[in-house]
Symmetry: C2
């Protein structure tokens, strides 16, 4: 390319929509017409779009093709837009239009940004915040429209713009900063993307009176059963909905990792959540309550306490007590976004509570947008365990930032796109999804090579990092790179307890009992090491290095093999990438990060193998080099 690459060249999956969205569009229907017209104009021979609004379809739509030159999109106002994107993308990909009315499986399809008002992004690997800098909103409206288009085109309809760890300035987004917050929300509105905010449970103790322009003394308490607090939140919600009529609601991290919450006042999480939910209910808002609560000051000597048990122990007794507009947001696994965890038992055990599953496009523990890690396969496996209708909402921690390519690595955009698609329809078939994204993103020429490469990329990362569901063998500082005992003697409840004979934690009934939190048939499957799937083996069991795997290898040999294989796979990946027809805009970043991934994988292979070799004393059966 002759000109400089900018964010306008991304996300690549919007390549078929090169015209910037004009500022004057004010509704999804207008936007749908604009997108269709732009596409038709830019594409010789494309059919003409006709729109039929059927309000009752809401976000749903139906695509009809009465003749080759005409497409009819029927849908609710938002559905018209979704149908338009679907139709354009089907045309680009050469796919058949879906038959019948399409409706999202989940009403809430959320992207959670962990942006701080100072412009930093917690666990952000794509540059600084797109909309915050220096303690205030700072953004290009054109870029925010492109962002919203990206979300809408993937099917995401809620954007939470601030970190769940709410910084002092971010507390005021619902208060003194509300006009700016509302201006931002207006930019999202034509795309059908609703604004959500993370709030500080103790906000009434920091902000003034909602009815007096946030003047006056803050309240002395944030007790959810206190009448003053209840009224404060009601009035606060009223002010917000005056400014942002389609406001989605609040996201709350409470009583977690030193954040304030209802426990401070001896109240249950249901009491805390319901109080906030009651303030939002009259306006149609939801209260999303994160279930990421555990003892983050554990003594490593205490082998009775087992962090994965924590959320279920706390929340399962509250099942049925949450208000109807409360959504309990549960991370996919019982730990914290590790490369391999069994599904959180909480997601299977709260039948009378609305649930959101929290995924993490941000590759915090999965390579930080340096190492390739396509998430569709992982998510397929999770949703398969979850079963149909398991959750009302899907939330993903955002991998976006101010980088030109938005997601650090251009291929990482796949995970954002996939998040939206899984939230719309959890029956996603990973290979087809990847193929669709590749075709949309200008990688069609390399589809046959990139599809298997991406499909397997997560498994490759898993192989060279933590073995068999062991988790947490990485640097506690950056969450990147190997550190087998970096988390071992710390307060986080994150131990592998490897010694010279054994490794892992016994989570069966004979051990910590975590396994008992699962439905009986699942528990039975995991209970017996001989039946437990390999990938969860060391999550559920403490086993000797000499343990025989189903394929006849010993546990220790399997660990070595996986790590050697993982690195070999990375080498092949690197060779493959070198043969691709990548767009020039991507070349440097893709090849540069691939080399970093190679070095990372080599380091991880060697450190992990050396760690287990020093402990076990067992040599590699195939005589490969394990360093002393």
């Amino acid at each position: 390319m002759n000109r400089e690459t900018t964010w306008r060249d991304y996300p690549a999956w919007l390549a078929a929509l090169p015209r910037p969205v004009p500022a004057e569009l004010s509704s999804p229907a207008e936007l749908a017409a604009f997108e269709a017209e732009s596409y038709t104009e830019s594409c010789g021979g494309a059919p003409r779009f006709r729109f039929v609004c059927e309000k009752e379809l809401g976000e749903g739509y139906r695509i009809e093709r009465p003749d080759p030159d005409t497409l009819v999109i029927r849908g609710g106002e938002q559905g018209l837009l979704y149908g338009t994107y679907e139709a354009i993308f089907d045309l680009v990909c050469g796919s058949a239009f879906p038959a019948g009315v399409q409706r999202p499986a989940c009403a809430l399809r959320m992207l959670d940004s962990w942006d701080n008002t100072d412009g930093s992004v917690e666990r952000g690997y794509s540059g600084r915040s797109i909309w915050f800098e220096g303690g205030a909103f700072r953004y290009e409206p054109e870029r925010i429209r492109q962002l919203a288009r990206m979300l809408a085109s993937a099917g995401i309809n809620v954007l939470c713009i601030n970190n769940v760890n709410v910084d002092p300035t971010a507390r005021t987004l619902i208060g003194p900063l509300l006009p700016e917050t509302a201006a931002f929300a207006r930019l999202l509105r034509p795309f059908g993307v609703r604004l959500m905010l993370s709030i500080d449970f103790a906000a009434p103790m920091f902000l003034g009176d909602p009815d007096r322009g946030w003047e006056g003394e803050p309240l002395p308490t944030a007790d959810p059963l206190d009448d003053g607090v209840r009224r404060w939140w009601e009035r606060c919600a009223a002010r917000i909905y005056e400014a942002i009529p389609d406001f989605a609601g609040f996201l709350v991290k409470a009583d977690s990792e030193h954040r304030p919450g209802p426990n401070t006042y001896g109240r249950s999480h249901a009491e805390g959540a319901n109080m906030l939910a009651a303030a939002l209910a009259p306006h149609g808002g939801v209260l999303v309550w994160r279930a990421f609560v555990y003892n983050c000051m554990q003594d490593w000597r205490d082998s009775k306490t087992d962090r994965p048990c924590a959320a279920y122990d706390l929340y399962a007794p509250l099942d049925g007590q949450f208000a109807d507009n409360v959504i309990l947001q549960v991370k996919y696994g019982p730990y914290d976004f590790q490369v391999r965890e069994p599904i959180s038992p909480l997601l299977l055990g709260m039948r009378r509570t609305h649930l959101a599953i929290e995924l993490q496009p941000a590759q915090e523990y999965t390579g930080q947008q340096i190492d390739l890690f396509a998430m569709p396969l992982m998510w397929r496996e999770l949703f398969d365990q979850l079963g149909r209708g398991g959750v009302r909402a899907v939330a993903g921690v955002s991998n976006l930032g101010r980088d030109d390519c938005w997601t650090g690595h251009p291929f990482a955009a796949l995970n954002l796109y996939a998040l939206g698609r899984f939230a719309w329809d959890p029956e996603q078939e990973p290979e087809a999804l990847i193929r669709r994204w590749l075709r949309l993103s200008g990688y069609a020429e390399d589809e046959e090579v990139l599809t298997p490469l991406l499909l397997r990329s997560g498994r490759t990362y898993e192989k060279y990092t933590a073995p068999l569901g062991l988790c947490w063998m990485l640097s506690p500082e950056g969450h990147y790179g190997p550190s087998p005992w970096g988390y071992e003697f710390m307060v986080w409840g994150t131990y592998n307890r490897a010694d010279r004979e054994r490794v892992g934690i016994d989570r069966t009934a004979a051990g910590t009992g975590f396994l008992l939190q699962y439905p009986p048939e699942l528990a039975a499957r995991y209970e017996d090491p001989a039946a437990c799937p390999d990938e969860y083996l060391l999550f559920f069991h403490r086993l000797p290095y000499s343990f025989r795997m189903r394929d006849g290898r010993t546990l220790i040999q399997r660990i070595y093999d996986d790590h050697f294989e993982g690195y070999e796979e990375v080498l092949r990946m690197q060779e493959t990438l070198a043969t691709l027809h990548l767009p020039e805009r991507d070349c440097e970043i893709v090849t540069g990060r691939m080399e970093k991934q190679r070095l990372n994988a080599r380091e991880w292979r060697d450190v992990t193998n050396t760690f287990f070799h020093r402990l076990s004393g067992v040599p590699d059966a195939r005589g490969r080099k394990i360093y002393d």
Copy 2:
């Protein structure tokens, strides 16, 4: 106390000098008269001081008592001040005056501050910088006078005020900021404390023309053999000495941990140092060159490279090549201020080079002014290894900061006082030194209890931390607290290579050969594990856990025993402290930090024992609890 404690109440060893030093005093002789008069006035029955200036004595002095009511201090101008402090302190302590002329063993007695101009202090554990804040000088002149008095009263005569890792603003201390630098130096002058600055070897590439008010383009190079560079430094030195006639010189960290240096230009460290020294020589300045150079990007897989070898390998071939006003500043051990290291072989092997030994009152790896660690015993052992006349200078990394008590922990002031005393006379006897400091500091009532407690405190810390000279078993992040393999797979050359059979690195001729850098008689002593002192055993040798120590215990049992004993000693220390008559100003900080030390010691004991138990599988012979 009824009033608030402030920095004016410290350092406690100046308790006998409660009157602030007036701003108008301009020479050490005037100051000596002031100190003597103040002391006599405040002390009923104290003898009157008479001063006889004998210029040729320089820093030396002689105390005479012709009659009980008269003290005669003879000395050079600076000697008069030192003699006065000595006499006052002797009177306070009830000690005999020293007989004959007293002269310092080392001409340079330096305190190296690692203060950054932003106000932070690298490895500072006593609060922020006393003289920098927000990218500029910021201080109370009265406090700087008290600081200089503290240094002079201990015998320290050089203060380097900025971090050896020179920040961009600190680069300008020798340039545009020179007037402010000179104003600071003026405050120190009456105390006989000369200013030193850490410089950036590449400074000519950042600053302008010294003769044109630092205007104009910087030079394109910092090559020490380039004529322009040489002239730049000559003119720079001329400007400095115009402003600060008693300027001590430069301190340089070059080609170390990513700092620029002569290697960039293919020049030797002697060439780099001599060029700078030549610029200082006409003005009587010295060039202090730090020998802390090693490969800080080592691959842990590389077991041939051994970091302790690095400095000797680099510098020994340069012996005899350094100019006469160059001082090579060498950390006491070959690593980096670990709790137990054998003396650096460089300090024994550079007979034709002026040397400074670098000590570290700042307790970077030795408890961070939380854990008690009195250094006199450690330094006694070091100077014993060094032999008489071994160094021309002693430097200590400062433990000072803006805390009211100046040194984080009030007892840590002992290490600053001791630094000055060792630099004045390396024959210091630790017990007497501690007793003197206790009496001066208002702890006389507890002298019999505190003396042995402090004397043993370093050994206690050593027991519960890294065993037998192993080093580096602590957190790479904070350098505080246990992390047995925190440094193991990193780039720093800091490995214990423990496995299920053995621990340590073989540094004999059969191993990395580090031992060969010592004089033959010392090498012979360390070479044989059966003869090697216990405390260095795992520094020099790789041994099986079953190795028999001289006292019959196995190596692993000795490790367990030391860690259990170390914690027991801390418990007794805590009990003892609770019985003391501490001044109220000290109580909270001393007891608070003691409890932190106890928790730290417990953590360190358990993590270390568990680490070795997991690896070795050997139970404690005495059945004490080692956690899984």
